[in-house]
């Protein structure tokens, strides 16, 4: 198994390298002086000169990439000229809200969608199944910011149950933290619920057609135990896979949700950086998000070994 983990770890290197090349060439393939673009619209000649020296722009392009990659690998993502702080430090400061939002979203999504998906598969073709499939198409289609405003209007403005927007650090007390975070997390979890419920339903449905389910029922196991221990357990791998794929949707959703709910996380940082044309930050955030995406999918691949004892590497 360690051999598998090692091999899987190695296989992420080409992907991350391609990501690095893409992020690097983002700037170089654009007409204009990379140093001037990096410095932003408000920079003076001396700043631009300093960046030009730092980027090694007098050297060949391959050498420039080498210099840049060497710094990235050491955790040096450059300096933001807009926020006047190192990009790595900037990302670290903004990490907590985004991490909290993403974690709570996945938690809600899994807790809601897996039981719904199992139930739909169990009553395949019935009204609940059809309703869930209908909801799932809607969940894919209603944009996250439209849903966000709908929920703010209903829950915060009309019912007055929760604050409209903002963020409280978990260190300042758990209740205010969760009160501010629960609505954004519910908003963001809808598309995820649609995605996971669909896959759970399809995988459980497939498992329910297997011989061992008939055996389990024949030996008199309760329907609950048949569904959970036998059908759902055998559907765990595709469910884990779709959670991993969904991380890309989740990151996109974080960017939008944080903007609507005024949460000072990485998503908000991305939008601010783009509006300020702060390229070191844009590059840093893209690298960071892609790294997280690749890492999560690596962990999910490794988790197959635990989810399905039949899988031996």
């Amino acid at each position: 198994m360690y051999r598998f983990i090692f091999k899987r770890l190695l296989s992420t290197i080409p992907v991350l390298l391609v990501v690095a090349v893409l992020v690097f060439s983002l700037l170089r393939l654009t007409p204009g002086d990379p140093a001037a673009i990096m410095a932003g619209d408000a920079a003076n000649a001396e700043q631009i000169e300093r960046i030009r020296a730092g980027l090694g722009l007098d050297k060949p392009i391959v050498a420039q990439f080498g210099i840049w990659l060497g710094r990235v690998v050491r955790g040096d993502l450059g300096e933001s000229f807009y926020f006047r702080i190192g990009v790595a430090e900037l990302i670290r400061q903004r990490l907590e809200p985004s991490f909290a939002l993403a974690t709570l979203t996945i938690l809600i999504a899994v807790l809601v969608s897996v039981p719904l998906g199992v139930l739909a598969a169990w009553r395949f073709g019935g009204w609940f199944d059809r309703a869930l499939m209908g909801f799932s198409v809607m969940g894919f289609s209603v944009p996250v910011f439209v849903l966000a405003y709908l929920l703010i209007w209903l829950v915060s403005l009309k019912l007055g149950w929760l604050p409209v927007q903002g963020y409280r650090r978990i260190a300042d007390g758990f209740m205010p933290f969760i009160q501010h975070l629960i609505l954004p997390a519910i908003t963001l979890s809808v598309i995820y619920v649609a995605l996971i419920a669909r896959v759970t339903r399809a995988s459980v449905l497939e498992a329910l057609g297997e011989d061992y389910i008939r055996t389990a029922r024949a030996k008199g196991l309760s329907e609950m135990r048949v569904l959970v221990r036998h059908a759902l357990a055998n559907a765990a791998v595709p469910i884990a896979t779709v959670i991993g794929i969904g991380i890309a949707i989740l990151i996109g959703g974080v960017v939008v949700t944080e903007s609507v709910y005024a949460i000072p996380g990485l998503g908000r940082l991305t939008v601010d950086a783009v509006l300020a044309r702060d390229f070191p930050t844009i590059q840093g955030v893209i690298l960071f998000f892609s790294f997280v995406y690749v890492l999560v999918n690596l962990l999910i691949d490794v988790s197959y070994v635990f989810l399905d004892p039949r899988i031996r590497y």
Partner: protein, 286 residues
């Protein structure tokens, strides 16, 4: 036709045809120029009457079906004209992604030497969330209609490429391809005349989903303030301007939001219907 007998195709298709007609007929549906504003008609509630000043300086009475925004512009007119932008961006982005995806996918699937390097690049692109690619490109190129379309299409190319590659890999083993090779048919002709026609059905399904995603992404970019310039009425832009006053005047956000959600829903339903009828193998997979 089997396709037209499917209710998802009928409902989604009918909703889209209606939307296209509304977008085309926008000038004759009781709208005014969507960029016209009048200080006297600011922040009107839906259904209130007010006045607008035309470019000729003439003031006319106007019925604000969906209310007005904080500049006194007619939301109804802006939403209807916004449909044009959404549809143009959605369809163009899907076409661009399709063209590049088909070329790259055929190359990777048929010219084996290109397969490895091409697909590694595609893996890399897919590891970056689509929204991030799009907003980074828009930030670099500065937003205009062509750059926004291209920025939305690029992150979608790998998905089409993978699909075409997978199809090409299985079709290239078919006897008729083997026969064509034996007859000395040039590779380009095999790719475009023998393999591509057999990819049409799954590609059509994929194009529908890409179109839905592109409409959504355009609205997100505009809403975040990094998309098309604010003087172009798009659903995302109307919502971005309305969000400041959302608590007092929710209609500025709701009307474009509803149009956006219904449009994306219609395209997705159409896609599901097409998938079920044209591509039963794909329907079985999900």
């Amino acid at each position: 036709m089997k396709v037209l007998a499917n209710w998802s195709v009928r409902i989604g298709g009918a909703a889209l045809v209606l939307l296209v007609l509304v977008a085309l007929a926008a000038p004759w549906l009781g709208t005014v120029d969507p960029t016209l504003f009048d200080a006297a008609s600011r922040d009107l509630r839906p259904g209130e009457a007010g006045e607008v000043t035309t470019l000729e300086g003439e003031t006319i009475r106007h019925f604000f079906l969906m209310g007005s925004d904080s500049f006194g512009r007619d939301i109804y007119s802006r939403v209807l004209y916004g449909a044009r932008v959404s549809l143009v961006v959605g369809i163009s982005a899907a076409l661009v992604a399709l063209v590049f995806g088909v070329l790259l996918g055929l190359a990777a699937g048929y010219l084996r030497a290109l397969d490895g390097p091409l697909m590694r690049v595609m893996d890399g692109v897919m590891a970056i969330p689509a929204i991030l690619i799009a907003i980074a490109l828009v930030a670099l190129w500065r937003a205009s209609l062509p750059t926004v379309i291209l920025a939305i299409a690029i992150p979608e190319i790998p998905r089409v490429t993978r699909l075409v590659r997978a199809l090409a890999l299985s079709i290239r083993e078919e006897p008729y391809v083997e026969a064509a090779v034996a007859l000395g048919t040039p590779p380009a002709r095999i790719m475009f005349a023998h393999i591509l026609p057999n990819c049409v059905a799954p590609l059509l399904v994929q194009a529908t989903y890409t179109c839905a995603f592109a409409i959504l992404l355009e609205a997100i970019l505009s809403f975040l303030g990094v998309g098309l310039p604010p003087d172009i009425p798009t659903w995302g832009n109307i919502m971005a301007e309305g969000r400041v006053q959302f608590v007092a005047y929710p209609h500025n956000v709701f009307f474009p939001g509803v149009f956006l959600a219904v449009t994306v829903l219609a395209v997705n339903i159409l896609g599901d219907g097409l998938r079920d009828t044209l591509d039963p193998k794909m329907a079985k997979r999900v």
